[in-house]
């Protein structure tokens, strides 16, 4: 198991290297003069030169590359032009919002989707199956920004049970944090609930046909043990694979959700940075998003091995 984990971690390193290289290269890939775009049409030649100096754009590219990695190694992501703040600090400030949103949504989607899928598979062809799959299709098809607005209107404006938006740090007020997070996380999760429900249903139907499920019944195990232990553990293997992909989708979805619920997260930071050509922030954001994604897939690989001993033993 330890060797498997080490192998997966080593395999993730080249990806991170490539992503950091791409983040660096953004400044070179975009058409036109980066400094001119950042400074805007009214900038004087003197201001442009100062900006170039600050970004290091006047140095040869290999020096810039070495400088980029040297700074990265020290955890320095550069300085935001507009926020007048370190990029690292700006991201760290907003990271808890985005991470709580993403992982809360992932948790909701996994639990609700798996439960729905199991019920649908066990009751395949019956009313409960059709209801669950119908709900999954609706969840799939409804755009999240629209659903978010509906949720805000119903639960925050009309019923006034929950706040319309805003963020309370968990450390400050856990209940306030939860109240603020429920609607955005549920909105973000909905489409993924449908995805997990369909995946789980398909995997469960496959597994329920297997001989070992019949063995479990022949042993006299009660129905919930047969379903929840013998069948589900096997069915979860493909579902976990999808969870890694879903996590990437959720992370991307936070951009819209943060705007709808006015949450001060990384998604909004990056959108703002793109609109105003704040390249250091874009670079940092790209690096961060990719790193999270790589970490999640690493976690998926490890979870995989935990679920399936055949992977653990390299077979």
């Amino acid at each position: 198991m330890l060797r498997y984990a080490l192998r997966r971690i080593l395999a993730a390193l080249p990806v991170l290297l490539l992503v950091s290289l791409m983040s660096f290269a953004i400044v070179w890939i975009v058409p036109g003069d980066v400094a001119a775009e950042m400074a805007g049409p009214t900038a004087t030649a003197e201001e442009l030169a100062r900006l170039r100096e600050r970004l290091g754009l006047n140095r040869p590219w290999h020096e810039q590359l070495v400088g980029w990695y040297w700074a990265l190694a020290q955890g320095d992501l550069g300085e935001s032009i507009l926020l007048r703040q370190g990029v690292g600090a700006a991201i760290l400030e907003r990271l808890p919002v985005t991470l709580s949103l993403t992982f809360l949504a992932l948790g909701i989607a996994l639990v609700a989707g798996t439960a729905l899928g199991v019920v649908a598979a066990v009751r395949a062809g019956k009313g409960a199956d059709r209801a669950a799959m119908g709900a999954a299709l609706v969840g799939f098809s409804v755009p999240d920004f629209w659903l978010g607005l509906v949720f805000v209107y119903v639960f925050a404006v009309q019923l006034a049970w929950l706040p319309t938006g805003g963020y309370v740090p968990f450390g400050q007020d856990p209940i306030g944090w939860a109240r603020g997070m429920v609607l955005p996380a549920a909105t973000l999760a909905l489409a993924q609930i449908g995805l997990f429900a369909r995946m789980t249903r398909a995997a469960m139907l496959e597994v329920l046909r297997q001989d070992y499920v019949r063995t479990a019944r022949a042993k006299g195990m009660p129905g919930w043990v047969v379903i929840g232990k013998h069948a589900l553990r096997n069915a979860l293997i493909p579902v976990v694979t999808v969870a890694g992909i879903a996590c990437g989708v959720l992370l991307g979805g936070t951009v819209v959700i943060e705007s709808v619920f006015s949450l001060p997260g990384v998604g909004r930071l990056i959108v703002g940075a793109i609109q105003r050509r704040d390249y250091p922030v874009i670079q940092g954001g790209l690096l961060l998003t990719a790193t999270i994604f790589v970490c999640v897939n690493l976690a998926v690989d490890l979870l995989y091995a935990w679920l399936d001993p055949r992977i653990r033993h390299g077979r």
Binding site: Y212, T215, K219, G220, M221, P309, R310
Partner: protein, 319 residues
Amino acid sequence: MSALLRVEALSVAFGKTEVLDGVSFDIAPGEVLGIVGESGSGKSMTALAMMGLLPPGGRIASGRIVFEDVEVSRLPERELAKMRGARMAMIFQEPMASLNPVLTVGEQIAEVLRHHRGMDRRSAHNEAVSLLKLVEVAAAERRVDEYPHQLSGGMRQRAMIAIALACRPRLLVADEPTTALDATVQAGILDLLRGLRQEFGMAVLLITHDLGVVADICERVVVMYAGRVAETGDAGAIFAEPGHPYTQALLAAIPRLEGPIGTLPAIAGVVPSPADFPPGCRFAPRCPHAIPACEAAAPVLRALAGGTQAACIRAEHAA
């Protein structure tokens, strides 16, 4: 002596299609009964009906199954589950597919002990090791924590037997337990079953298409064809004086070591599928002794001079 298990005129249907039609036999305590027949004869379906494990859509259309004086064919699922794995256990043909790939062998044995015998985790684990030793798995202390894919085919079937024996059942149903295994491994498993049956006095219902296996271990035999019992009797009588042409054909198809090398007589044709069972005697279309009367009515079991009971109106002519 009252029977441990009685199957009385059992019919099983999927929708309107009957796959078993009036199957009757019984097993005495401690007895080894063989059910033989080609694929599609209804052997496995009979066993699954006894365990209450019929596939989705299957139901007992008529007849009864009585086990230890309880009519199990009418028990609700909850009561059946209490009996399964405790009083009546089953092992299957494919030991790889029949073990759960994501659970250790020990866990798959121990959960039976915890569930039926109320053992705690530690003693169930220890008992699992003892059971693996009982079924002669080498290095049981190590094997108990391994997963099915780490075991050989023979060891997996031994592990399945250990699961089945966990609660010392009165009846072990073995559905083609050696078919998927190599010949030498087969012999080992049969030896083990024979020894265990003597040690615990449990009855064994052995389902097989291999008459060699039957000759090896069974005391009585039920020959099935197309969802019905064709012939039944003591193993000695069945092998010495088979009455039913189908039994005769099965016996003729056993390869022999002595005598000249020749072509092996095979039974022409295949078992019809339940949707198009012929009227009258279902073996008639493949039978060399068939006359028009065979297709008129389903033959009933009747005692023959040879000591067996056969469902054939032409048995005296076929001998």
